[in-house]
Amino acid sequence: MDDLYRDYILEHYRRPHNFGVIDEPTASFEGSNPLCGDRITVQLGITDGVVERVGFTGRGCAISQASASLLTDEIKGKPVADVAALRADDLLDLLGIDISPARLKCAMLSHETLQKALAETDAASATPAPEGSPA
């Protein structure tokens, strides 16, 4: 049990970094874990191709919360291209624990949601901006 719930994982779970909504996000996506129905929303504030601001909201298990906390820390201040290139394995390295197949969906929820939020930004920049900003 202590292998999975390492102290730093529990610490990120109890006090997740970047938890909350951000002002005027340029991209936002709500993802859900089909296994348990958990939902999280990832919001990005992208300026000049750089993820300047990031926030997430939603409740989940310790693994999904810690993963969202670590991932949002990792991408802050990074160029969008680098963030888009982040693979699932990179997030597993960040987590630094062995995730059983049953819990992989929990660990990957933030990653999937982030990728979808980025895809939304791509779509938004490829087409003329609709009225108001996408939320």
Binding site: M1, C36, D38, R103
Partner: protein, 410 residues
């Protein structure tokens, strides 16, 4: 308690194994039950000595296999109070049984605007087939709500059933444990001119049921939750309905004659059993029923009621309001399925901690997402009790939960 649990446990090899040095405490029978040696032995024996396809060969082992397969059908029929084996169609599971009704009866009898009444406590197996029909032919779905004691709220039953063509209801919730009183629901549906489908997946393993006394039209059951193997279940339906229904799947076995210009269907129940059935599994299911009947379904029920009372009291004693239990408080209204949640700790984390102790509980939405939405939670942990569980298992659960609570306390 009226069951000798120590003796029963000895019949289930998996329960004598250890994990991480812990005895296995299996509390997920509502998802799928463990199997006694007699079930495995019956399946093994068939495959070792008498295996062949059924209803085809004229050689001795084919006749033996056919006889064993049909004997299993008789056992299942008798077990649920069906008078006539022609009314008992083997399917893959309860899900397929309900889909059979939706596909065959539903498409032949329901039209745009017709109403199917469900309840908020249905399993996805008794929701999605009706959503599919709604998308295909435009039927309307109505939902019987639940009240704050987690029972069906029947205060507007008359309105909901008004003009309805079908009521599809579970006999026991796989999340709340709530046991629904079927005969009055059938009476109300009849009065409104609606047919009735009962999902008995959770009820059949735990109490004596009688499909004829219920007066329903369709009843779905599944073997793997009642000590039998996975891969087989059954639809019971009244003969007139089955006779009038068009076939479901087409192929071998379900036909009487096939010509270049068409086919005619076989007699009941084989009309609805296309292709080679789950022969070995049927024989295993028959053995599971023998096992349950030897224990006696009244004794099984009494045992589970007593153990459920014990568990509810133990959880309330230890955690008080710190743990929310989603289900009726009185054991008169419920079975041994206990869903619970620490408000601040996710169900996944709880099961993970319990798993370390060798305790198996389910965490998630339990294939009842509309119910989760009504309860306004994404997931619960669920412990479910069966014939091989005892007070020591419940005690282990309570201790495991205490550990989880300490571990994740903020």
């Amino acid at each position: 308690m009226s069951l000798d649990v120590a003796r029963i446990q000895a019949d289930f090899p998996i329960l004598t194994e250890t994990r991480n040095g812990n005895r296995l405490v299996y509390l997920d029978s509502a998802s799928s039950a463990q199997k006694p040696v007699s079930v495995m032995a019956a399946m093994d024996e068939l495959m070792t000595h008498s295996y062949a396809n059924v209803h085809r060969g004229v050689y001795a082992i084919a006749e033996e296999a056919t006889a064993r397969f049909e004997a299993a059908r008789r056992s299942v029929a008798t077990f649920i109070g069906a008078g006539d084996t022609a009314e008992l169609v083997f399917t893959r599971n309860a899900t397929e049984a309900i889909n059979l009704v939706a596909y065959s009866w539903g498409r032949a009898n329901l039209h745009a605007g017709d109403v199917v009444v469900l309840t908020e406590m249905e399993h996805h197996a008794n929701i999605v087939p009706w959503h599919m029909l709604a998308a295909e032919i435009g039927i309307e779905l109505r939902w019987i709500p639940i009240d704050d004691e987690y029972r069906l709220d029947l205060s507007s039953l008359g309105q909901l059933l008004d003009g309805a063509a079908l009521l599809a209801v579970t006999a026991m919730s796989n999340v709340l444990g709530t046991v629904n009183d079927i005969p009055p629901l059938v009476a109300a549906a009849r009065a409104a001119g609606a047919a009735v489908l009962v999902d008995a997946s959770q009820a059949a393993p735990h109490m004596s049921i009688d499909v004829q006394a219920w007066g329903a039209d369709f009843v779905a059951i599944t073997a793997h939750k009642m000590l039998g193997p996975s891969g087989i279940g059954a639809l019971w339906a009244r003969r007139e309905l089955l006779e009038a229904m068009p076939p479901f799947l087409g192929g071998g076995e379900m036909i009487r004659d096939v010509r270049k210009d068409g086919f005619t269907t076989n007699e009941l129940p084989w009309k609805f059993e296309a292709g080679t059935p789950a022969i070995t599994e049927a024989v295993g299911w028959g053995a599971a029923i023998d096992y349950l009947e030897a224990l006696g379904m009244d004794a099984v029920h009494e045992h589970e009621q007593a153990l459920t009372s014990y568990a509810l009291a133990a959880l309330a004693d230890r955690f008080g309001d710190g743990l929310t239990v989603y289900g009726p408080r009185s054991v008169d209204l419920r079975g041994g399925v206990i869903s619970f949640l620490f408000p601040e700790i996710h169900a996944h984390d709880v099961s993970q901690v319990l798993d370390e102790e060798g305790i198996c509980v389910r965490a998630g939405h339990h294939c009842a997402k509309p119910l989760m939405k009504v309860l306004q939670i994404p997931a619960t942990s669920r412990a479910s009790l069966y014939v091989y569980n005892n007070e020591a298992d419940v005690d282990a659960l309570v201790e495991g939960l205490s550990k989880a609570e300490k571990f994740f306390s903020i």
